[in-house]
């Protein structure tokens, strides 16, 4: 029943609602008034970060897959309950309001996302070859054998422990498939693919909003031109747009189109927030998710955030940012080192 359009819509609605609640709570915790789109974006990154941090020790201890499902679900439910209580006490729910139907900018932006989702789901993109057989194979094995990375993803033979570098992304696919009663291919090719398209657009919109000091028309134009570029420049095989439309929701695609642009947005916020804890934590989230859910992200994310922070420290001559920078990068680097060497 869940392997259907209705199932995809339900799973997406559940994830987006969860993300929105998580993001709203985070913003309320720091007494920040943010747009709904940003709360959603932040909440989804929080969700991914929580997943990464919970998944890694279970995986490294060689525990069965069902332990991950139980622990992860427990943690996420506890977080959900905490957010509900917190939001109720702080009166966050009263601040939520539906966007007005006459809001042209919002309508255009939502239509833009809708068109891209429809395009992404029907563009004939199907390069499910060598790489995807690895990720999806591990996700399938986890569900079928109740183990994590102990069977060869392509042949199904027992290997003990995977020796090739791998990230936590296949387990995210497997986990979502388990909790939503879906086939992993539906999770990755539909649910996560649509999520990637939505998040990629939200990041562009939010970055443009902050760059233009809140000019919504500039943000919508930026999102529209960016969308045009992505659709018409998809064929550059190494580029981020190729991954967005032809290899949607692979871990590399998420790195190129979600994690790294989110890191840029976090850096921009850090500059705008003049080094407030809120900004540092969001940057730390980007580092954790990038390193935990993409092997390439361990290096690429470190270089990107490192370069951004170095530029910030030197330009603003705020040497006191150095220890904050180290602390901000530490969890991501620890996850990366654990993934590569332990």
């Amino acid at each position: 029943m869940m392997d259907s359009v209705l199932g995809v819509v339900l799973a997406l609605a559940a994830l987006l609602c969860y993300g929105f609640l998580l993001g709203s709570s985070f913003c309320a915790l720091f007494q920040k008034r943010e747009r709904a789109g940003f709360c959603l974006l932040l909440g989804m990154m929080l969700f991914l970060a929580v997943f990464t941090v919970t998944e890694l020790p279970i995986e490294k201890l060689g525990l069965p897959f069902h332990v991950l499902v139980y622990v992860q679900t427990g943690v996420l439910l506890a977080l959900f309950a905490a957010c509900i209580v917190f939001c109720a006490r702080k009166g966050v729910f009263r601040e939520w309001k539906m966007p007005a139907a006459s809001d042209i900018c919002m309508t255009v932006f939502l239509l833009l996302i809708l068109f891209q989702v429809i395009y992404g789901m029907n563009n004939g993109g199907r390069i499910n070859g060598y790489d995807t057989s690895y990720y999806n194979g591990h996700a399938m094995n986890a569900i079928y054998t109740d183990t994590m990375y102990q069977y060869n993803p392509r042949t199904g033979r027992y290997i003990g422990l995977e020796t090739y570098e791998y990230d936590g992304y296949p387990m995210l696919i497997a986990y979502l498939a388990k909790v939503f009663f879906m086939h992993p291919l539906v999770v990755v090719n539909r649910v996560l693919a649509i999520l990637e398209i939505i998040l990629a657009n939200l990041i562009v919109y939010e970055t443009a909003m902050r760059l233009s000091s809140g000019k919504r028309r500039v943000a919508v134009w930026t999102a529209a031109i960016y969308a045009g570029m992505s659709v018409f420049c998809y064929q550059f095989e190494e580029g981020r747009f190729f991954y967005l439309w032809q290899r949607t929701a692979e871990s590399k695609s998420m790195l190129a189109n979600v994690y790294l642009p989110f890191a840029l947005l976090a850096l921009l916020m850090l500059v705008k927030e003049s080094g407030a804890l809120y900004g540092w934590l969001i940057l730390m989230l980007a580092a954790i998710v990038g390193a935990g859910l993409s092997v390439s992200g361990i290096f690429v994310m470190a270089v990107m955030i490192g370069s951004g922070l170095l530029a910030l420290i030197v330009c603003q001559r705020r040497w006191k940012y150095l220890p904050y920078s180290v602390l901000c990068m530490l969890p991501g680097m620890a996850i990366g080192i654990t993934r590569l060497f332990l």
Binding site: G156, T207, G228, F241, F299, C315
Partner: protein, 271 residues
């Protein structure tokens, strides 16, 4: 020790990523525009990180020894994802459009943005509805269901061609592939016609590697593989193997779907 400098590699990576380079030129133009501007924030977020990356990660003289030691040449192009080129281009164009007060100038800017998108890129992919909710070929699902229907085992051992190999376990993890990973990938980039048939006698693994690419390996050799590896089913890609050849293998026809036929391996069952 670093064994020589391969600067051509960096040129190839750069051109492969940026193609004709128009986007990169616009991006550089945007950076120069920001560098000349008054906004310190924009410089801190876009210009200075780019300069730092230019003298570090995009510096071939620094990266060559690192890449040679780590062997990450095939992943080097991913560092270009750090550059927010497309975002900056889109933002600058959006600002230029919004700055125009007169309708004709604004229309002109929109046309210019559209031209840039088409000049930098080209065409979108086709708009085609997918076969199914899984976003995989219908034939993969059909083959998997065909094996499930025919098998009495929970985890049947199945041998299929290299193309099906990458797909089928993404849909159904209950199968175990009757060939090793290395065998499936030996002739990955070659067609049956390009493979030297005499190599089949080098080892049994070599014979399997050739067989899964469609080479008509000596039947006795493949029959030994079917028996030795206790292969339950063989999925024949209809583009491969003649009918005469199949008759020499210890197989019994089970069923067929478009493009594929399913055979049960007789000897494996007898042993």
């Amino acid at each position: 020790m670093v064994s020589g400098w391969d600067l051509e590699f960096y040129r190839t990576v750069f051109t492969n990523y940026w193609w004709h380079g128009l986007f990169f030129v616009v991006y550089l133009g945007g950076l120069v525009y920001l560098a000349a501007g008054k906004s310190a924030e924009l410089k801190q977020v876009f210009v200075w990180p780019f300069v730092i990356m230019l003298i570090s990660i995009f510096n071939p003289f620094l990266m060559e020894p690192i890449l040679q030691r780590t062997g990450w040449q095939n992943r080097y192009s991913r560092f270009f994802w750090m550059l927010p080129a497309e975002l900056l281009c889109a933002y600058i164009l959006a600002v230029l459009i919004e700055r125009q007060n007169r309708a004709e100038w604004r229309t002109g800017m929109i046309v210019m943005a559209a031209c840039l998108v088409f000049l930098c890129g080209g065409s979108a992919t086709e708009f085609a509805l997918d076969d199914n909710i899984y976003k995989i070929d219908d034939s993969v699902i059909a083959v998997a269901e065909m094996i499930d229907a025919a098998s009495e085992k929970e985890r049947p051992v199945v041998l299929y061609d290299e193309e099906m190999y990458y797909w089928i376990r993404q849909y159904d993890a209950s199968f175990t592939t009757g060939a090793k990973k290395s065998e499936m990938e030996t002739y990955r980039w070659m067609t049956a016609e390009e493979i030297d048939a005499s190599e089949q006698y080098e080892s049994r693994g070599q014979a399997v590697a050739m067989f899964v690419r469609g080479v008509e390996v000596e039947p006795a050799l493949i029959n030994k593989v079917f028996a030795g590896r206790e292969i339950d089913f063989f999925v024949r890609n209809r583009n491969f193997y003649s009918e005469e050849y199949l008759k020499q293998l210890n197989l019994v026809y089970v069923d067929a779907v478009e493009g594929y036929e399913l055979y049960r391996c007789v000897q494996a069952r007898e042993e």
